[in-house]
């Protein structure tokens, strides 16, 4: 268990020192959302209607942008091999990597999402649900993304490929995340959607690291 925290701490301190990676994903998130009012026009009604979808799609895309860094540097400099050779189950280490990834990309996006909601004329009543749906959804994004990031290690054009592989798998997340916010906007209960998102997180928590670990082992071999 100690290894888990040691690895999270290392990844966090690396992310802080090479802050540009995490910041770039966040900037991308903000810029993509900003493009939409410019593209579809600034009428508050239109923006409000599409706001939840835009924020979620932008979050998905921004997460994809940061994914290929997740294991790539460790793979390139040999750290990954050494991690495989620690006496800890690899799944635990994968979970630590995913947590670190979420803390550096998912969490900042989650925190800035209300601001983007304001940009998009979203009703303030919907903000708690937006935050809740993203709090449940972005960890799933990191976990699923980990599988993709591990699969493309050593592949040609890995950065693009990982998005092609992971984005279709995140569609359920998008559907329920957006619909939770929409329910809140129209004054309905978003409980069902949030529960389903929670179930997805619970299902991903054991399954995704397992698949990621298998992918990492074959990447090193």
């Amino acid at each position: 268990m100690k290894c888990f925290f040691v690895l999270v701490r290392r990844d966090l301190s690396l992310a802080l020192r090479q802050g540009s990676d995490a910041a770039m994903a966040l900037m991308f998130f903000v810029i993509v959302v900003t493009l939409f009012p410019l593209a579809v026009g600034p009428e508050p009604g239109v923006l409000e209607r599409i706001s939840s979808g835009i924020v979620w799609v932008a979050a998905l895309l921004a997460a994809m942008l940061s994914l290929d860094r997740m294991f790539q540097t460790d793979y390139d400099d040999g750290s990954l091999e050494l991690m495989l050779l620690t006496p800890v189950p690899l799944e635990v280490l994968v979970l630590a990597k995913c947590l670190a990834h979420w803390l550096t990309t998912g969490l900042p996006m989650l925190l800035i999402a209300p601001l983007l909601g304001v940009f998009m004329n979203m009703q303030t009543e919907a903000f708690p649900v937006l935050l809740a749906s993203m709090a449940l959804g972005t960890p799933v994004l990191s976990l699923l993304g980990g599988v993709g990031a591990a699969l493309v290690l050593g592949a040609r054009r890995a950065g693009t490929l990982v998005a092609l592989l992971v984005l279709p798998l995140t569609i359920p997340l998008l559907i329920f995340g957006v619909s939770a916010v929409e329910a809140a906007v129209t004054g309905q209960s978003a409980k069902a959607q949030l529960l389903i998102l929670g179930a997805m997180l619970m299902a991903c928590l054991p399954l995704a690291p397992w698949a990621t670990a298998a992918a990492l082992r074959q990447a090193a071999g």
């Binding site: 540097t73 040999g78 091999e81 050779l85 006496p87 800890v88």
Partner: protein
């Protein structure tokens, strides 16, 4: 791992025993008269009929080796003969295409995770994160594997980079990065060291430090497999393995490609279509 809990000074002590001294093999004098063999216990690492496949190509086949506590196995062979592949197979990073690896007579291929705790692997890459200092890197790896060796500062000192402890790895020269990678061997204990060209980039002092570390490791019952040009006193428990002797023949190549081997004659089914 059967490592007796010893005070840190004791673990540091064996490195002062000179290689090739008069002491009976594997026994050194530490503080409080502890015999070093007890540090790792008596182990045996064997390979039986190993075959390894890289990029769809069989690089060596039907290879056997045996390594006992205190022993050294030096891999020899021209480029492409599979030295690195064999070392990676021994480290369970690569699954052998054929044959089996045994630790104390028990197969390790089915449970690589527990075998991983038994070994240190130093490959071509130094795993030096440019943004982390030497000390942080070593502390990290000792946290991952358990800090049961000598202290981080002492390990850095032993490889002569103590004065660079606070330097981010991006400012270290390639030789210093190599020393840093080797210092990892000392901060956490493992009976088996797998070293792939460990002296690349090292100067004379660096090689000497490595030799000292290796001698100390052996004196305490550790074993070493290496592809290296370091000269070892031949004789007691130093074996050489010439890999070019295990290059597969064409027939082996055909057979080893899984079950798509020699008997898959195209004409066996071509006529029927």
């Amino acid at each position: 791992m059967r490592i007796r809990k010893l005070p840190r000074e004791c673990l540091a002590a064996p490195y002062r025993v000179e290689a090739g001294g008069d002491l009976p093999y594997g026994v050194g004098i530490g503080c409080e008269g502890i015999a070093f063999m007890e540090v790792f216990g008596d182990h045996r690492f064997e390979g039986r009929g190993l075959g390894c496949q890289r990029g769809g190509r069989l690089v060596f086949d039907r290879l056997d080796f045996t390594l006992a506590s205190g022993g050294v196995l030096i891999l020899k062979g021209p480029n492409g003969s599979g030295k690195s592949s064999l070392l990676r197979t021994m480290a369970t990073l690569v699954r052998p295409a054929r044959g089996d690896l045994l630790w104390d007579g028990v197969s390790v291929t089915d449970d690589p995770q527990s075998h991983a705790g038994m070994l240190h692997y130093v490959g071509h890459a130094d795993a030096a994160k440019p943004a982390m200092t030497a000390e942080e890197l070593l502390t990290f790896w000792s946290g991952m594997r358990g800090a049961n060796g000598i202290s981080v500062a002492a390990a850095l000192e032993r490889f002569g980079i103590g004065h660079r402890a606070d330097f981010p790895a991006r400012y270290l020269s390639s030789g210093q990065k190599r020393r840093l990678a080797l210092a990892r061997l000392l901060v956490s204990e493992a009976p088996l060291w797998i070293l792939d060209e460990p002296t690349v980039g090292l100067d004379v002092d660096g090689v000497a430090a490595l030799e000292e570390a290796i001698a100390g490791h052996r004196a305490r019952g550790g074993m070493i497999v290496a592809a290296t040009h370091i000269r070892f006193e031949t004789g007691d428990r130093v074996a050489e393995l010439e890999l070019s002797g295990f290059a597969p023949s064409a027939g082996d190549l055909a057979e080893a490609y899984g079950a798509l081997g020699a008997e898959l004659r195209a004409d066996a089914f071509r006529d029927a279509s």
